[in-house]
């Protein structure tokens, strides 16, 4: 898969166009959110849990803050944590998968066991345990999510490397005396990168959901507004029982749409790389 075919793929299907445009919107908001916000998202007022009006198109929070402003500013956390955590996860998974698959033997056995452990263990409880012993911040979130989501990538990379290792061009290279690094760099990596890339996009979606869940549970960065913390505040202040739909629906909807956008793109890449998937869907 090369860049041109990836671009074609995204632009020629309505799923790709929808996903890409939606993602673009969110990234734009993430960058310019604070400029776009009509009010200071942290500014409280006495106008508590007010329903939408002209001055507050999405109403106010339990502190009297403008929901719309918080919504716009909150995009940044989701995007930043989602992408950064997925990057860490991809790096970690690729290294482990490469090392295990390529070197085999005991290295592989240990790494494989490690991978399987992370795959079996329930992810959210693990993240909760890790995040709760540290002081909450964006960095903690990124690290915790990255450290717990790598096993999926690891497994895919390992499987790919195992197949490649048996292929003749690798044997030939070795016979010619090429070093391991060289072989990995010129033969294994190029064939594995598309796979890693497609998988990482889907990990971004999972990371966004994870950040939202952790923030909702109170493990998010208390100095930052995120959609997850908005839902946390809404819930703990009784907004659902008060019927404050303007407070409760938008943050979750944004999470959903962002994850949808990323997932659509990710599934498209996956289908492209694995034509058999295209047949089955």
């Amino acid at each position: 898969m090369n860049e041109r075919s990836a671009r074609d793929l995204l632009l020629h299907s309505w799923r790709g166009r929808f996903g890409l445009s939606m993602l673009g919107v969110f990234i734009f908001v993430a960058v310019f959110g604070s400029l776009l916000a009509p009010d200071d998202p942290d500014a409280s007022s006495t106008d508590v849990l007010a329903s939408p009006s002209l001055s507050h198109p999405l109403g106010t929070t339990e502190q009297g803050s403008d929901v719309l402003s918080q919504l716009l500013v909150g995009a940044q956390v989701s995007i930043v944590v989602g992408f950064a955590a997925a990057l860490i996860s991809a790096l970690l998974g690729s290294i482990v998968g490469l090392a295990g698959g390529y070197y085999g033997g005991w290295t592989d056995r240990i790494l494989d066991a490690l991978e399987n452990w992370f795959l079996v263990i329930p992810t959210l409880p693990l993240m909760i345990v890790l995040a709760s012993i540290l002081d909450p911040s964006l960095t903690v979130l990124i690290v915790v999510i990255g450290l717990t989501s790598w096993a999926g990538t690891g497994r895919i990379v390992r499987a790919q490397v195992l197949t490649l290792r048996e292929r003749s061009f690798v044997e030939r290279a070795r016979a010619l005396g090429a070093s391991d690094t060289h072989i990995i760099r010129t033969h294994v990596l190029p064939n594995t990168l598309p796979l890693i890339f497609a998988n990482t996009v889907l990990i971004i979606a999972v990371a966004i959901l994870s950040e939202a869940a952790l923030s909702f549970l109170g493990l998010g960065d208390p100095t930052r507004i995120s959609w997850g913390t908005m839902l946390e505040n809404a819930f703990s202040s009784g907004a659902p029982s008060a019927g404050a739909w303007w407070y409760v629906i938008p943050p979750g909807l944004c999470i959903t749409l962002l994850v949808l956008a990323v997932s659509l793109i990710g599934f498209l890449f996956e289908e492209h790389i694995n034509p058999r998937l295209r047949e089955a869907t």
Partner: protein, 322 residues
Amino acid sequence: MSGRWLAGKTLAALLTLVFVIIFNFFLFRVMGDPTTQLARLPNASPEEIAKLRADYGIDKPLPAQFLDYAGDTLTLDLGISQRSREPVWEEIKDALPWTLLLVGTGTLLATLIGSWMGVVAATNRGKRSDDGLLSFSLFTYASPEYWIGIILILLFAVAIPILPAGQQVTPGVEFSSFFAEALDVAEHMILPVTAMTLMLLGQYFLIMRSSMVDVLGEDFITAKRATGMRWDRVVRRHAVPNALLPLVTLSAIQFGTVVGGAVTIETIFSWPGLGELSFNAINDKDFPVLQGTFLVFSAGVILANLLADVLYFFLDPRVQSR
């Protein structure tokens, strides 16, 4: 032979659990031994500190500490809750049945409905019903389950107040019989179980759909049609049974998600299970409880995986003769 295979799987499961205990142990250490907290007491004498260290067993070498810890864990001594001062195991024991009720019902419904959806989608591949079901699943996959829970509360407990918004029973009511109480619990279960089912539905649907599509492409399906069988019978009697087999093992991947969903959904609905326990423990920084629930969650998922393997073994005749 089946005995050896079962032993192997059980051993692997136990080893995984052992590593959870090791993980918990090191987490416990990382948080610092309790004497560092003591150091905040300015007047603690060296003797008092030494006595405290002995009490906590910190004066022993690390491997001995670990054995103590592991031994405690295996005898279900999971420490004392920092908030309630009750044994962690007691709190977990009270909460566990509620989580099992929620998770069990949700998984059952999600499997049944999701499988049915998968069959419909696979036999109508490419048509509108298939597209609709796929879009629906994608939406439920992308949406946070606690947000869906909140919307359910908004719709059915606030806007149209026909269902309770939380807890497992109506507070302050005396029940005339077990049956009456069970009915009350059932009423309180509706919204949380719906949220859980919706969360899991998409994944079971996709697995079943993909499994059905694979099976429908096999030669024996055409061969059955050739014998003059009606298509609905071919699907029901031959395609679905073969498609269900991979569902058993593949859905084992979902068990982790189920548990995560239990945490957030119980929080939303104040459902008194392990998830709610964890949530409260997060707020209170109650580490023993957090580690305890993590252990139980992990044990549950490991056990569920093992059961899925065993179930598959009994269902697939091809495996049995190995």
